[in-house]
């Protein structure tokens, strides 16, 4: 039994992050009797859904060795565009929803093209693009939320199916798609090749720019999806949607075994990382940690989680 467990730990790159998640889940259920109540589990899974969609996109970019700091701004801007289409222009809510996903994909393509054509570091470029998308958002809305979102799409944000929130199921579908794409297709193998060694991948004849633009586009699509689901959840298009989706997904991906240097890791690991952060944030509110301490406590636990995963990696020499 112990030998089997050790074998799993050695062979499975996700065993470290899963162990940390299990420890945190057990601790959370001991610390607060409310943690395991069904209402709270729905809250945790719904919160994970939004941040999870961004994390999937960001982790795929990190496998390439890239980063997109404008994903939150894309999500917020697409949400506002969707709100304008539905409320001010009277376009069918479902059509607006779909059009916003296309627009989000286009924003991702723009980011990808700028990075590949101009040979710019994605970190710096996407800081600028976050300003562009966030600024356009403010220009259009003047900071005021768009209210009166049709109730038709409310189910996408607030509804539940089989007891779990709809956004959570949506996130699971795209997680499965992302895992299939990265682990089971030639495109996924190219991603790892580009992330491990870009010049070598180019020498092998991989169209590296296409791969990179493709992943930026997919990340943009997922950001727009998260933004629209949040609009459906709130019943209004808030200009501030996405403001808190910038650093969390990167930390989640790192915890989940996707380093910023690229070449290794999976979106599934990143989602486990996002779940660790989500549960920590939930439990510190449930047990009533002072708001002035919350950021520090969350940060410290994240550091411990990364350290534990890193130590376990070195111990079992998985990478």
């Amino acid at each position: 039994m112990l030998r089997k467990l050790m074998g799993f730990m050695v062979s499975n790159p996700l065993s470290g992050v899963i162990s940390v998640l299990v420890i945190i889940l057990v601790s959370a259920s001991i610390l607060s009797e409310n943690f395991l109540n069904s209402y709270n589990l729905v809250i945790v899974s719904r919160t994970l859904a939004f941040i999870g969609l961004i994390t999937i996109g960001q982790s795929m970019l990190m496998i390439l060795g890239e980063l997109d700091l404008s994903l939150g701004a894309i999500g917020g801007f697409c949400g506002v565009i969707g709100g304008i289409m539905m409320v001010n222009m009277g376009i069918n809510p479902w059509l607006s929803f779909g059009l916003c996903l296309v627009i989000g994909t286009l924003f991702g393509v723009i980011n990808g093209l700028l990075v590949t054509l101009l040979r710019l570091p994605s970190l710096v470029l996407t800081i600028g693009m976050a300003g562009v998308y966030g600024g356009l958002n403010l220009v259009i809305t003047k900071g005021v939320a768009i209210t009166g979102i049709p109730a038709d799409i409310g189910f996408m944000g607030s509804g539940t199916w089989l007891g779990m929130p709809v956004p959570f199921w949506v996130m699971l579908v795209f997680l499965a798609l992302a895992c299939f794409l990265t682990l089971k297709t030639p495109f996924g193998r190219y991603m790892y090749a580009v992330g491990s060694n870009l010049p070598a991948a180019q020498m092998l004849g991989i169209r590296t720019d296409r791969v990179r633009v493709g992943v930026f586009a997919f990340a943009g699509f997922l950001a727009a999806l998260a933004g629209m689901l949040m609009v459906a959840r709130l019943g209004s298009a808030q200009p501030s949607i996405g403001d808190s989706w910038v650093l969390g997904p990167i930390a989640a991906a790192v915890i989940g075994g996707v380093p910023t240097t690229g070449g290794i890791g999976t979106p599934l690991g990143a989602i486990f990382g996002a779940a660790i952060i989500g549960v920590i944030k939930n439990i510190i509110v449930l047990i009533g940690v002072s708001p002035y301490w919350q950021a520090m406590v969350t940060g410290a636990i994240v550091v411990v989680a990364i350290a534990l995963d890193s130590i376990s990696r070195r111990y079992f020499k998985r990478d």
Binding site: N34, T147, R233
Partner: protein, 336 residues
């Protein structure tokens, strides 16, 4: 005089009569006493409540103004403990970012802990409404503070007349400018109902004075740093600007910083809002002319009172106004 039989008969009748009166008295007195006691102390007799209460306070953000609300809430908890003997826990749970989605998460997590009541300062009534309705549906009492109650939600609210507060500030600025000049408004969070009301009422006062020109409204999202940037930019592009009014507590501190950096202390008048220590310091230094402050401690106190009343099955008033103060340099001692 009396034979034994007569005496025995007489005594026996009197005895029975007294005994009967005594029995009746014994039966009636407790009932009378209970009634009298009920008339004297109606509240204590209705303490059919629990031995402990837990109320959650959810402000808009982590900020000193809300800490004062929390202090008032703690005072109310002490009062309730002293009066009823029950344990009262105040849980203060502030969103780390001033965003309605984050505030909704905090509210959801608060609902999950099944408190006796939740008090919230809504960041956006439209986007908060569904979650607050969820709390009510689950039998959790809800009271709104520092803001009007969201439309369509039957809950009590505690605050002050935001319009009147803004009008007092705008009138003060108009008076200090001699009823002519260029003015600007610094708005906090545009979606916050109380901020929007204040800006509207500032404009109503300025509109009554033909020689007062409103040259712009900046937005600082409740951030001192952003208020400073916005105010500096607006003063740069409008060098003739004469005065500022603001719609929340962070705005005047940022605006004052911009006035100081531009070297326009005394030249550009600022009528602030609320009574943070920095605000009082700015009045003392002469950077700000005055401030129109509401009473956050009173809001916290009456909010918890309202939640407690609801827990006892008593309906609190729909709206409780805690009032405002105009703080000028000569009245500073009363507020420090």
């Amino acid at each position: 005089m009396f034979n034994n039989n007569q005496f025995r008969f007489y005594v026996t009748r009197a005895h029975w009569l007294c005994l009967a009166l005594l029995v009746v008295a014994v039966l009636i007195m407790p009932m009378l006493a209970k009634q009298a006691h009920a008339n004297e102390q109606p509240l204590s007799s209705s303490f059919t409540g629990k031995d402990n209460y837990r109320f959650v306070i959810v402000p808009k953000a982590v900020a000193p103004w809300f800490d004062s609300v929390n202090e008032g809430a703690q005072r109310a908890a002490e009062m309730i403990e002293a009066q009823s003997g029950a344990d009262v826990e105040i849980e203060y749970s502030a969103p780390q970012q001033s965003q309605v989605a984050v505030q909704n998460q905090i509210l959801e997590q608060a609902i999950a802990t099944r408190p006796d009541g939740i008090a919230v300062d809504p960041l956006d009534a439209n986007a908060n409404r569904a979650i607050l309705q969820e709390a009510l549906d689950q039998g959790i009492n809800v009271v709104i503070f520092d803001s009007p109650a969201p439309e369509g939600l039957e809950v009590s609210s505690v605050g002050n007349d935001f319009c009147e507060q803004a009008k007092i500030a705008a009138r003060r600025l108009v008076e200090r400018l001699g009823e002519k000049g260029q003015v600007a408004i610094m708005m906090g969070t545009p979606t916050a109902p109380n901020h929007a009301i204040r800006v509207r009422c500032h404009k109503e006062v300025f509109a009554q004075h033909p020689d007062i020109q409103v040259i712009g409204t900046a937005i600082n999202d409740d951030s001192i740093a952003k208020a400073q940037q916005q105010a500096a930019a607006l003063m740069q592009s409008n060098p003739e600007l004469d005065g500022w009014v603001v719609s929340e507590a962070s705005g005047p501190i940022g605006v004052a910083q911009a006035i100081k950096e531009a070297g326009k202390v005394g030249e550009v008048k600022l009528v602030g809002l609320e009574k943070l220590p920095e605000m009082l310091q700015l009045i003392e230094e002469g950077v700000a002319d005055s401030s129109v402050a509401n009473r956050p401690e009173a809001q916290g106190y009456w909010t918890v009172q309202a939640l407690w009343q609801q827990s006892l099955g008593i309906k609190p008033p729909d709206y409780m106004d805690t009032g405002v103060d105009l703080i000028t340099r000569d009245k500073l001692d009363d507020f420090q």
